[in-house]
């Protein structure tokens, strides 16, 4: 085992230990917030596969969260499906939708792709209003049972763990190499035999599946209540900001991005003076700008820099001795 791998496994173990420890000791309200962090973690992880690893931008991932969320709400409401069983279903349906979006997206890139996915973020949450007979329209629809915060905390973090392992396995292998080669140069990737259509749509599908699971859990943490306003454009932007804070193209900053978008808006409500109305937005925006200035590559970039400094320190130390 290399030293790098050992450090990483150690870090993962520490985070996992913290999650378990906090879950056991926190108040019920904080477990709810903790579940939000896990949900953002999954969504950011998915978006990172698409943007950070494959170089395809999406500012419409809230749409896939809506698809996953409504899958869970509808299955539970109409068929009383076990809530856990709705999660893989949400992933599968979102995966298919992701592929369906990925195919036309093959012809788009850069800012055009951004605009197309933005349209998705705007339009998909309106669909429940169109078919309000089944979906409850603007009055929403709820699951047949409401999970407790302890339940949702546990399930969300287990899903986050599974998602992390799945992303890691996917990215370290053949598919991951193909994704990265597309990101770095589509021309070079294609001439090395990487099929652009297959891997680009695959990245969209996988990324959407992650978002779908996150959306399903998002509905569950909202007392099992799905309503179009929950999946507005701001949700898509929050995930994008989370991914930028985390650092694109690395999995290890994800937790920082999730903590940021999951907790900052909530915590700033209890800050005096700025804690109401536009104050929260100002705090949030200010911190985003600050992070982008100080850490242009996100928290993952910071970790990378620290790591290389640590390595050079060891090198010079061993050279000296």
């Amino acid at each position: 085992m290399t030293r790098g791998l050992a450090t990483r496994l150690g870090a993962i173990a520490v985070v996992a230990g913290l999650v378990v420890l906090l879950g056991a000791t926190m108040t019920d309200y904080h477990r709810g917030l903790g579940a939000h962090v896990a949900i953002y973690f999954i969504a950011i992880l998915g978006l990172n596969i698409l943007i950070g690893y494959t170089g395809q931008i999406s500012i419409g991932h809230g749409a896939f969260m809506a698809i996953g969320g409504y899958t869970t709400a509808l299955m539970s409401n109409y068929h009383h499906t076990n809530l856990i069983a709705t999660l893989p279903l949400a992933a599968a349906i979102s995966f298919v939708c992701g592929i369906a979006v990925g195919i036309p997206a093959l012809r788009l890139s850069g800012v055009y792709l951004a605009l197309a996915t933005f349209a998705l973020a705007v339009s998909v949450p309106q669909l429940p209003l169109k078919w309000s007979k089944w979906t409850g329209g603007s009055n929403g629809i709820r699951t047949h049972t409401t999970p407790t915060n302890t339940w949702i905390y546990t399930v969300s973090w287990i899903c986050a763990g599974l998602a992390f392992v799945a992303a890691w396995l996917l990215l370290r292998g053949r598919a991951g190499r193909a994704f990265r080669s597309i990101r770095d140069s589509e021309l070079a990737a294609a001439s090395s035999g990487v099929s652009l259509p297959i891997y680009k749509t695959l990245a969209f599908g996988v990324s959407a599946a992650f978002a779908g699971v996150a959306g399903a859990l998002f509905v569950l943490v909202t007392n099992g209540y799905a309503q179009p306003n929950e999946f507005g454009v701001t949700l898509s932007l929050e995930i994008l900001i989370g991914a930028a804070v985390a650092g694109l193209g690395s999995l290890y900053g994800t937790i920082a991005g999730a903590l940021f978008v999951g907790l900052v808006p909530q915590i700033s409500t209890s800050v005096p003076l700025i804690g109401t109305g536009h104050g929260q937005d100002v705090v949030f925006g200010f911190i985003v700008i600050l992070i982008m200035l100080a850490l242009p590559n996100g928290v993952a970039g910071l970790l990378g820099r620290l790591d290389s400094r640590f390595k050079s320190a060891i090198k010079s130390h061993s050279a000296a001795s």
Binding site: Y29, L33, K130, S132, S138, F218, Q227, T276, G277
Partner: protein, 420 residues
């Protein structure tokens, strides 16, 4: 042996005495959450930002009224500490904010929270925790009783609304048309969801045998900003009376569009969620002819009823505690008077919820309202509830617009009672 047996008995005895003492001691001082010797903590969620932020004058007025009450001795010696949180009209934000209010701020009750969807997202949670979710700022019928799928099988004894419900208001317009305009051809614009459909159902009930007077009903989706097609369709079907069960933006657009396409109905009924004077003025400023507008109200008008004691009181409270509301108040923003009316009702219920208020006491007080003293509601309105009737306001005053671009609502006929 004998000694060994006696020791546990002694220990058990001491523990029992200690336990009784502890229980008795804590029982003597334990209040419901949020209630201390000097304060009662309450909270609410409102759209201070985003699409529905036009309503943010409601919590501002409520805060002003509570500040005024606090400066005049509070309620039974306790000051009301009102936490206002911004959920941006997004239920997924309302849920953690309400959890924050309950478990972290430790409020006694959630008061006045705005919006049907945010209310539905949180009422299971609040009721499960026996936290009063009262005087909600929404006119859906859920808060008075459960009639639809969303709340099937569950009871929500800790939830209450305040304003008249939408079907009752729709019914009133139906009755008016049947009685006064038996030959009118009615064209309806309604929002394609429970809000619009409940209104429409009420209109049909009110029309009764005259149901066939509705020549066309056109729906729009909540997020649509253009209703031109619908207005053209109503005109083409030959409707000469317009009924609008729409949100403010669409109502304003509809009125402006009707004038632009040359459709001049003899009467324009406007659901009262959109009949705030400032919305009508906005429509008129954009070219709409609003002279035939008809609506209803249940709060005093701060623009046309300035001599009422309640309006004077509201004016002086705004001068002292919330000067930023002055402009809206002077223009007749009904939401300001609405906030005052809700806050007054809460204070009234809190006074009757016990010397040291309890949550159960608050709900009992809200289920036994019977007062005509709320100075901020329309004169003559009685706030009345019972164990089986959870709708505090069931009276509406029909109002007609007068005075064109700078006009105002003028009462028409007597106050209608028992609208549900």
């Amino acid at each position: 042996m004998a000694l060994k047996r006696r020791i546990p008995a002694v220990v058990v005895g001491v523990m029992a005495v200690a336990a009784i003492a502890v229980t008795a001691a804590s029982g003597a001082v334990r209040n419901d959450p949020g209630v201390s010797a000097t304060t009662v903590k309450i909270g609410g969620t409102f759209p201070l930002t985003g699409v529905a932020s036009l309503y943010k004058t409601i919590p501002a007025a409520e805060s002003a009224y509570f500040a005024y009450v606090n400066d005049h001795g509070g309620v039974n010696g306790r000051k009301i500490d009102f936490t206002v949180l911004d959920d941006g009209y997004d239920p997924s934000k309302t849920v953690p904010l309400d959890q924050q209010l309950v478990t972290s701020t430790k409020v006694f009750a959630v008061v006045g929270s705005l919006g049907t969807a945010p209310g539905l997202a949180t009422w299971d949670y609040l009721n499960k925790n026996k936290v009063p979710q009262v005087l909600l700022s929404t006119g859906d019928s859920y808060w008075g009783f459960c009639a639809t799928k969303v709340c099937s099988g569950s009871k929500h004894p800790y939830t209450s609304g305040w304003q008249p419900d939408y079907p009752g208001e729709g019914k009133l317009y139906g009755k008016y048309i049947a009685a006064n305009m038996p030959n009118a051809k009615v064209g309806v614009l309604y929002q394609n969801d429970a809000f619009g459909k409940n209104y429409l159902a009420g209109l049909r009930v009110g029309l009764g045998a005259h149901k066939s007077q509705i020549v066309d009903a056109e729906s729009y989706d909540a997020t649509a900003t253009s209703v031109t097609q619908q207005i053209l369709a109503l005109k083409a079907k030959g409707a000469d009376t317009f009924v609008s069960f729409a949100l403010p933006t669409q109502t304003i657009t509809a009125l402006v569009t009707a004038t632009k396409v040359g459709w001049a109905p003899q009467a324009e009924f406007i659901g009262n969620v959109s009949s705030n004077r400032i919305f009508l003025l906005a429509a008129a400023a954009n070219g709409a002819n609003i002279d035939n507008a008809i609506s209803t109200t249940y709060v005093a008008s701060s623009s046309s009823q300035t001599s009422l004691p309640g309006v004077k009181l509201a004016g002086s409270i705004i001068d002292n505690y919330a000067p930023s509301l002055k402009t809206s108040f002077d223009q007749g923003d009904a939401n300001v008077m609405y906030g005052f009316g809700v806050a007054w009702t809460f204070v009234n219920a809190l006074q009757r919820a016990g010397k040291t208020p309890t949550r159960a006491g608050l709900m009992a007080a809200l289920h036994s309202l019977n007062t005509s003293k709320d100075p901020f509601v329309y004169p003559g309105i009685v706030l009345k509830t019972s164990a089986t009737d959870n709708f505090p306001i069931e009276q509406l005053q029909l109002v007609k617009w007068s005075g064109g671009k700078t006009g105002d609502w003028v009462a028409s006929g007597k106050l209608s009672s028992g609208i549900r």
